[in-house]
Amino acid sequence: MSQIPKWIGPYVIAVGAGLTLVGGSLVRERVDLGTKPKVISAQGIKVENLVASRDQEIELSATEYFTQLVRLVKSEYVEPIAQDMPLATGAVRGMVASLGDTRSVFMDADEFRAFQSAKAGTFEGIGVELALLSAGQAGQVSQAALQPTGESGPEEALAMSAKIPKLTVVGLVPDGPATKAGVKLGDTVYAVNDHWVVSSDVLDEFSAARKQFQAKKITAFELNTLRKKLKAQTERALLPLKAKRTLVVGTNGTVSVEWRRGTTPLKTAMQKGTSKIPATANGAICLRFNAGGSDALKSALATKQPIQIDLRNNAHGDFSEVKKALSMVASTGNYGYVRTEKSSTATPLTLNSTAKPASIKLIVDASTRGAAEIFAIALTGKGHAKLEGGRMGGELQIVDTTKLPDGTGYTLVTGEYSLNSPVAAKKKGGKE
């Protein structure tokens, strides 16, 4: 220590402080931009393989492509981008939307929370289950109709509106706001808070009027009046998934909805809130197919038999929970098939169960869909339960749910259930 003069200490510290200040900033830059910047382009960023005009063609995996495009965007975009996760979940949103499937949808964090909660029987919003249903066959719909990602926005969707299915009530919480307001199964959403929900309605109306005009049944003035009405409506148009979000998310505020029952209009004003499917109703268990939902069945089985299960107002559920519930009340054997459109073979749904078949009555109607409907068909198809009530919803798709780290999430159709071997089902005349 004696060789170093005392006065130098503060200077060393000062210089050191300066160096660490700059050094810290540089280290941060490396951390933010990735740890191994090998090739630096003109913008000072590593996107060596993505940007064109390289000598050799390089195959990039989708993930590498994503990583490098993120880097490029982060290095050039006018605003600094602090968080990477929204970029990743944005990409997932784009991929899910590109499927053009009304049952495979991306949800923001609030909507996903409400969706998961509704699966367990606790609803936000007006206490309804909504689905996008086509009047005819539910084929592929335009991506634009669901979640446009381009410059044109709603106009894009509007051009495709003939292909947009209708937002339809497929389930209701018995004492929820919608039920109290008189909404019924099968009602379709026409407008929310005076915003018309994009569907083919208005275009149909207009093209019918144009035909009448061409046949000289109405005047140009009448046609023009309708055109003005159409324009006013479309300027305040709401895409179906956005309308759905307004109706099923949140427990505060009021919402006014114009419905169509067939062609009859029905106007309602509702207070959003929390509403619940009760655990039991009239002695029947209201079984839910969320994770752990089948526990209710287990405890019911322990007490008394026969048991009644109410599967109404049950539109969304997990297939894994269906299997769990089945294994509690059904014996070992085959309970149907899961097929995909990618393969000609189907995977049998086989149970290895120690359960004794229970005596069960199932209460169903058109609001029994998806997981609940599969449960009902599997159980009654093998003679393990009796059905009571109306026809079920006819929705036999198996839907997986994925939660992403920022609370957003999405559903994905992974297969279709059928009780009988798909070959036999095909002979009978195609798919549901």
């Binding site: 200040l21 941060r28 951390v31 940007v51 495009l69 944005g90 997932v92 590109s98 709603p154 992974t414």
Partner: protein, 413 residues
């Protein structure tokens, strides 16, 4: 003891300065320090999943588990489009290869042709407009002529787009047109050398009842400034009492053109200030000494499709009190984009700068997550929606926005 205290104090000092340096990015932006970055620094994965992992899992999950088959490249491109759309900027976009090509063709614009505007006709195509000094004019083609055959093939019954694409071709090649010119009933053969065409972007006229001048500008292209001067001179010779500049549906174009045109009205004035992400600023000003004497009031028509250079022109005229804006709000394009070509012929269009008008400031369009307009654009001084009955723009009898602009100018002149 003293030495220990010194060491502890200096360590704390150095650690704090490092922390300040490390979090400077966040602090400079007035944000809380990003704790995730510390985790990365220390090599911790943390509880947070990496964005790459999130992407990869969902990409593979959809590809493997979705019940229909999905094309991997289409899924990849949909993901990239979604990633870029997540920024909420309608101009930061991903173009898959096919869209990228269409976009690049659009912006390059094909300026090779014969230099005439065609309209449908049962016999082929009617020539409605022959561009000044274009190949067609040089070959003696006149407006009103009807093309009945191209290179010996009859055009009767063909779609107009089809005829246009037959007439178009590479520079310095020849197209043989069979032309019907009244009163003759026998077609004449005219050969036209295809070449560079300067399309007219400015069209002027005077309404005799009101003596108001009207200039419609369709885009801000390279020749627009000189075309503007020329057309305006014609109007001024006729002693106009006011001028309506129609920028409706004008998507913009070249900033320099707009600046040059503004030089007629503004002497060495700021046009726009561009701000890039690293704080670099670039300003654009009009030249000095180019101002012409304007003795009449000016109104500018705009609508939601008036964008970019059109908004800069309208915004500056408005901000310096040189014109009154009539119509509806403009688009709200207040940013500069850079298009990066990617290895697979896809491209990424990224907003790299924002621009600010002299007084209107930042007019950037805000949209909701479904792309619907929320705010932005220039606000008109006189708001008037285009009537749905308006069939022909540019005629005050049927164009209510134009009629309103003229009515306003009459009160000022």
């Amino acid at each position: 003891m003293k030495a220990v205290v010194k060491i502890v104090l200096s360590t704390i000092t150095l650690l704090s300065t490092f922390t300040i340096g490390f979090t400077w990015r966040d602090l400079a932006r007035g944000e809380r320090p990003n704790t995730g970055a510390f985790g990365k620094l220390l090599g911790l994965k943390g509880s947070e999943q990496e964005p790459e992992a999130v992407f990869k899992q969902s990409y593979n999950g959809i590809l493997n588990n979705y019940y229909r088959s999905v094309k991997p490249t289409e899924l990849r491109y949909a993901g990239m489009a979604g990633m870029m759309a997540s920024l909420g900027d309608p101009h930061t976009l991903f173009f898959p290869p096919r869209a990228a090509k269409a976009f690049s063709d659009d912006t390059k614009a094909n300026f090779v042709g014969v230099g005439a505007r065609l309209s449908p006709d049962v016999r082929g195509a009617k020539i409605v407009n022959v561009f000044e000094q274009g190949p067609a004019e040089k070959a003696g083609i006149k407006s009103g002529d009807i093309i009945v055959a191209v290179d010996g093939k009859s055009t009767a019954g063909l779609e107009i787009d089809d005829i246009v694409s037959r007439v178009k071709g590479l520079e310095s090649t020849v197209v043989r047109l069979s032309i019907l010119r009244a009163p003759s009933t026998k077609p004449i053969q005219i050969s036209v050398n295809r070449g560079k065409v300067i399309a007219p972007t400015v069209d002027g006229k005077v309404f005799p009842e009101s003596k108001m001048g009207y200039l419609s500008i369709t885009s801000f292209a390279e020749p627009t400034a000189s075309q503007y001067e020329k057309e305006l001179a014609k109007l001024e010779q006729q002693g106009i009492k006011g001028l309506v500049i129609d920028l409706r549906s004008n998507p913009g174009g070249i900033l320099d053109t707009a600046t040059e045109m503004l030089g007629r009205y503004l002497d060495g004035k700021l046009v726009v200030k561009m701000k890039f992400r690293n704080g670099r600023e670039v300003t654009e000003t009009t030249d000095k000494g180019g101002v012409a004497n304007t003795t009449y009031p000016i109104a500018i028509l705009m609508d939601e499709n008036s964008a970019s250079a059109a908004e800069i022109f309208a915004g500056c005229m408005h901000d310096y009190g040189k014109a009154t804006l009539v119509g509806t709000h403009s688009y709200g394009k207040a940013s500069v984009q850079h298009v990066e070509s990617l290895i697979d012929a896809a491209s990424a269009k990224i907003t790299i700068a924002k621009y600010f008008l002299p007084r209107s400031g930042y007019i950037g369009r805000k949209v909701d997550d479904f792309g619907a307009f929320l705010s932005g654009g220039l606000e008109p001084d006189i708001r008037v929606e285009l009537s749905l009955d308006a069939e022909f723009l540019g005629d005050p009898k049927t164009d209510n926005q134009l009629a309103k602009a003229i009515q306003f100018l009459q009160t000022k002149s």
